[in-house]
Symmetry: C2
Subunit: 285 residues, 2 copies
């Protein structure tokens, strides 16, 4: 059996699967104080005999094996979770192999293995919700370098009608600061899910997300870009992003057909937990 | 013996080396009409018995082996070179293994194998000159996906004092449009190499290049970013970029020390030709 933790800023999803990734049980745990949250996680996993665990965590996290704080959550805006030894805490409870990466890298792995990017050798996964984050698979490997991508904090050109100051604690008007769910809500006074399709918000939102897709394209040249997260539940948004993106690119590089390039998730809200199971499974090889 | 072609927009450098990459002879050929340029290349290589050739070409080029136009230069602003079957033309003359990638990916390969990024597992190489281009090595492999990176055409936030329209044929005010040598010259009426160190141009230039470094960092998380190209011969520029970059990043992610992260080339103007020889040599394995 394999365990998985998808650690998000508002909730943790934990799951246990067999070796073929059939999920046997899953629970959702609110993200509160680390001690309390870990107690709930351990209560769940203690019922099973696990061979490996995969963790996909919100970030920034330390993925540098040479570092003394490898396995820590680092400079997150969630103050209670800053400098928490996530991997070590789980490792001390269950002395088994543990895969460790960001939630969005896990999602990219889930989507390229079993979801919308199945069969491809590269993809970007971006989630647009409470925060914005991105992960990627390049040459069939998870994208890590000195650290991991933080694609949600890209600095993007302003929409010419947008004077909103931005909501990011670190960069004010980065992509997350301007286009995350809380930014939409603060700017327009309505939650994204309640904004009507014809509201000007969507043209502004599409501007920022198209700029993100443009940067990912020009820097990574992936086989596809997958948009997930709560804000993308407004289904008309994806088409607006495609139109803006093609305008910005102006035919400069060859791409797959746009409807195969900028695409929705194949696993829906399960990308992260499936990817985390895959991270766990990869430790058994 | 290994042959190499570093194909640039203004000149081609061709070289021949032994198997240890000691360069035996090199020539520089102006980039004129393709037929004339290829004649000069063949005149040079015909003197040697080559086992393999590496080509690092200006782009965009087609690096997708599944494509019918694999090996072509595609939508380049240099009209004479648009839709030219570069790889095929060389392959028909010398029926030997040929490595094919962008000039900047070749430079990244040169720098990580024998230059400033030696021993690292990832790097970005960016050249700032007549154009701006970037290449990368990720997990010790050249970064390619559906196509290749076109990092010079990033869309970056405007410097607040800069109203210059931009020089890029495709995107007007992308990074290349605002920060390449021709953009500096048209905006200020002086060639970059003749602009004094205290000129306001450098603060504007550093703004754009720091934004580029920020995007490469947030999307790729490389071990280092290497700045090369003619504009970087103004040695004070690199320090200005570092200062701006750290301001923008605002301590959000852990990085290597800045003087080991944003760095000059190790191979100087030889990154591209050395990388092209390496592309050739890699075909012999």
């Amino acid at each position: 059996m394999i365990g998985a933790i998808e650690a998000g800023g508002t909730k943790f999803v934990c799951a246990v699967s067999d070796n073929s990734l059939n999920i046997i049980e899953r629970v959702t745990i609110p993200t509160t104080h680390p001690e309390e949250t870990f107690d709930s996680i351990f209560n769940f996993f203690d019922q099973y005999e696990l061979k490996a665990i995969g963790i996909g965590s919100f970030g920034p996290i330390n993925v540098n094996r040479q570092s003394e704080t490898y396995g820590y959550i680092t400079s997150t805006p969630k103050k209670l979770w800053r400098n928490i030894d996530f991997l070590g805490t789980v490792k001390r409870r269950y002395n088994i192999p543990i895969g460790w990466n960001t939630d969005v890298n896990a999602s990219a792995l889930g989507e390229i293995t079993l979801g919308a990017a199945k069969g491809k050798s590269s993809c970007v996964y971006i989630t647009v919700g409470t925060g914005i984050g991105g992960g990627a698979v390049v040459n069939q490997e998870l994208l890590t370098g000195f650290g991991h991508p933080e694609m949600g904090h890209l600095l993007v050109p302003r929409h010419k009608k947008d004077t909103y100051k931005g909501v990011c604690d670190y960069h004010k008007d980065c992509l997350e600061g301007l286009a995350s769910g809380p930014a939409i809500e603060e700017r327009f006074g309505i939650r994204a899910k309640n904004l009507p399709e014809e509201h000007e918000a969507w043209e502004i939102e599409a501007h920022y997300l198209a700029h993100a897709a443009m940067a990912y394209t020009l820097i990574l040249s992936p086989d596809c870009i997958i948009f997930g997260g709560g804000v993308m539940n407004q289904k008309h948004l994806l088409d607006l992003i495609k139109v803006k993106f093609l305008e910005l690119l102006n035919d400069y590089v060859n791409l797959p057909p746009i409807d195969e390039y900028i695409i929705p998730t194949g696993l829906g809200s399960d990308s992260g937990i499936v990817g985390s199971l895959l991270l766990g499974k990869s430790q058994l090889k």
